[in-house]
Symmetry: C2
Subunit: 437 residues, 2 copies
């Protein structure tokens, strides 16, 4: 069966999945966690096959680390499932309840999105994480993993599918696409698939976004900034920048550019250069900024700076590299961020309330921070319990996306024969009375 | 200046527009309504030019009616602006306020989407309506109207722009694209334009959706259904169907297909045929349904039925035509609707609570109704005060879209130097405490 036929069946079955009770979904999640723990040896065996093949094929060791599914990662995803069980059911929440006229009652009620296509490179733990999020939110999902973890993926899929259907979920609540050509087929299923969630490299996510008419939730770039204002506490600035750059350099919420207010550039930039040198971070800067940096730094530090052009400020290094630039003021900082950033997460370091408020208004990003590391942009750290991903789109869900991002709503209107003709002619009229939810 | 350069400037100015206070925006709206009323003669003069040109070019009279901007329509849009002024400001609402740890506070706060591209055919009143919605929601907008109303559009634009900037809105809060080629240029501005709202024919909206990577809010099809259950009150069924079909046949929320439960088909279908004949509605049906219809109807009525195939049930007539089909039960009705409908608005007629609940769960549409006309699917009738349009997409906004659909949110995180390293190492930990909003 092709992916489109599968998707069509899922579309028809989606309403059956949609209104499983919270208890049924939690039971299924419990069964999934138990089955994963009970069949862990099979998972590790399948993963070993994948890792050995990857080694033979010369896959670099850092990537092989991401392919691994060891006891610690498995325990992590099972803990995640238990955290998910403890969260309230996101489906069936009434967000509007209004009597339009006597006997004519409108309700807006949350419901699953329907059929979700999940496409991920490497990271088999993402398969488990997103499958459980889809179960909790009542969505059906088609999974497409990378070929590097084909054995691990099909073992995980089989275990989750067995446990889920065993606990009473519909036969087609979860499907796994097996061959690579199916990605392109999946991208064309815009009548069957309601949402795509890609997880992987920037290039991979961008490819998905550019080759489908299905809505895509995610982010391709993470070009985050920290602006050091004239009223910044330099100690806070250095500790926040060091954390945001070095705590996990490949993450999308890592800082890529530090902007410094010209008024404090002469004193602050040499301090920054020293701290970055100690942390093993290479500094990239334009001519103007380099001049200030060089004036204040010892020669051997200055020799290591890398000269860049204006356009290079649109770079996501994903490594121990940092762009630095001097700007006139908070307004220019916001302008630079809105132009060169990726609308992900940007911070100001300042003790000045007015500057902070201005910055947080002017910067058009999912996260606007004051005096904290950009690395906090994460569903777990926001207290969402679980995370689908981080969205840099502005519609539907923005920033770290939890279960709320996997539901939509429908309007239910009930009456006893009301017709619009009576309201158009003036025989009836609306009175709009809110009803307690 | 090309449309992309204009859009880039608007993108930079959008944050200036974004945080105008509710009062500033209401003052601007008041100035706009006053200016429109004060300069109505100019508007009518420009509209007369357009109408005369259209007549010369042989534009059909029904379309010329939609091009007209007369005293009644102008008063209507000005009343609409006043209704908008009375609504609460949708920007700056806090929907989440949480202390993640001591001194580390997260807020989710509503904000405008940014730069909105509005593309509309004919209907100059839509220009005024959407411009005022954008002002109220703090968005900047690029307008592209049809060439048929070029004079009216540029007059309306000039008046709104003068009044808005006169009341202190930023210079580029509203722009008008003048030439036709600019549509295709606008569709490519996916880095500058955050959302497109097309208003016009199905074909027009579908063209926009298929030719851009910018998110599009709207609907191309409106294939609405009414299912008459075995426990239906036939009187309610007939009055609701007649209203839903004839009250305004070209509207997107008009019923296109009536499904009848096989158990009551023999008695109900002849009644329906009679009522439709009196209302001037042509009935289209498949062989099986035709047989039942013919058995119960006088010969001269039966002679007028039109035979259709299964695939024809995916038809939006937009005229006094109605597809009719017999189905086994509520589940088959929902299946038919999910397959052939457009996920807009669908109704069940029944006195049976269980059947109604089942139908409303299984039907995957923005509006699921019981015992009322599908024509109620409308922002004004839902009490939203103003309507951007109706969305058949499932993400962001679904169904009739009011001001809420024109805002997104951002996360603000404030602290005093917190770094992720401390939480990763276990030195600090989150305590997640909700703060009153």
């Amino acid at each position: 069966m092709g992916i489109r036929e599968t998707a069509m069946i899922m579309k028809q079955e989606a309403p059956l999945m949609a209104f499983r009770s919270g208890e049924e979904k939690n039971n299924a999640l419990r069964a999934v966690a138990e089955a994963l723990r009970g069949q862990k040896e099979e998972i590790f065996r399948a993963n070993k096959e994948d890792l050995e093949r990857a080694e033979k094929e010369g896959v670099p060791v850092q990537i092989r680390k991401r392919l691994a599914m060891d006891a610690k990662k498995l325990e992590g995803v099972c803990d995640g499932i238990e955290a998910l069980i403890s969260l309230p059911d996101p489906v069936g929440k009434v967000s509007l309840h209004r009597e339009l006229d006597k006997g004519l009652v409108l309700r807006r009620i949350s419901c699953p999105i329907g059929v979700i296509g999940v496409i991920f490179e490497a990271r088999p733990d993402a398969l488990v994480q997103i499958s459980s999020l889809c179960i909790k939110s009542g969505n059906t999902a088609i999974l497409k993993g990378g070929k590097e973890t084909a054995s691990t993926n099909s073992t995980l899929y089989r275990i989750i599918h067995e446990a889920g259907t065993g606990a009473g979920l519909p036969e087609h609540f979860l499907e796994l696409a097996q061959t690579h050509s199916e990605i392109d087929e999946l991208l064309k299923c815009d009548r069957e698939v309601d949402l795509l969630i890609p997880r992987g490299s920037n290039r991979f996510v961008r490819y998905i976004m550019e080759h489908t008419n299905i809505p895509v939730m995610g982010h391709s770039d993470g070009i985050c900034h920290i602006y050091v204002d004239r009223k910044a506490d330099p100690e806070i600035a250095l500790q926040v920048i060091t954390d945001a750059k070095t705590q996990y350099p490949v993450a999308c919420n890592t800082v890529e550019t530090v902007l410094a207010d010209r008024e404090i550039a002469d004193t602050f930039l040499p301090l920054l250069a020293g701290a970055m040198k100690r942390a093993g971070v290479r500094i990239h800067a334009d001519d103007e900024t380099l001049e200030i940096l060089r004036r204040g730094c010892p020669e051997e530090t200055a020799a290591e700076f890398i000269r860049i052009e204006e356009a290079d400020y649109h770079t996501e290094y994903g490594d121990l590299d940092l762009s630095v630039k001097v700007v006139e003021d908070t307004a220019r900082a916001a302008e630079h961020i809105n132009r060169y950033g990726s609308h992900h997460t940007d911070a100001i370091i300042t003790e000045d309330d007015a500057a902070a408020a201005f910055f947080m208004r002017m910067v058009d990003s999912a996260g606007v921070y004051r005096n904290v590391s950009t690395r906090f942009a994460d569903g777990f750290r926001y207290g969402f319990g679980a995370e689908v991903g981080i969205s840099t789109g502005k519609l539907h869900a923005r920033g770290p996306v939890g279960l709320e991002g996997l539901v939509t709503y429908k309007y239910e209107l009930t009456g006893n024969g009301q017709i619009v003709g009576d309201y158009a002619s003036g025989r009836s009229s609306f009175h709009f009375r809110e009803i307690d939810i």
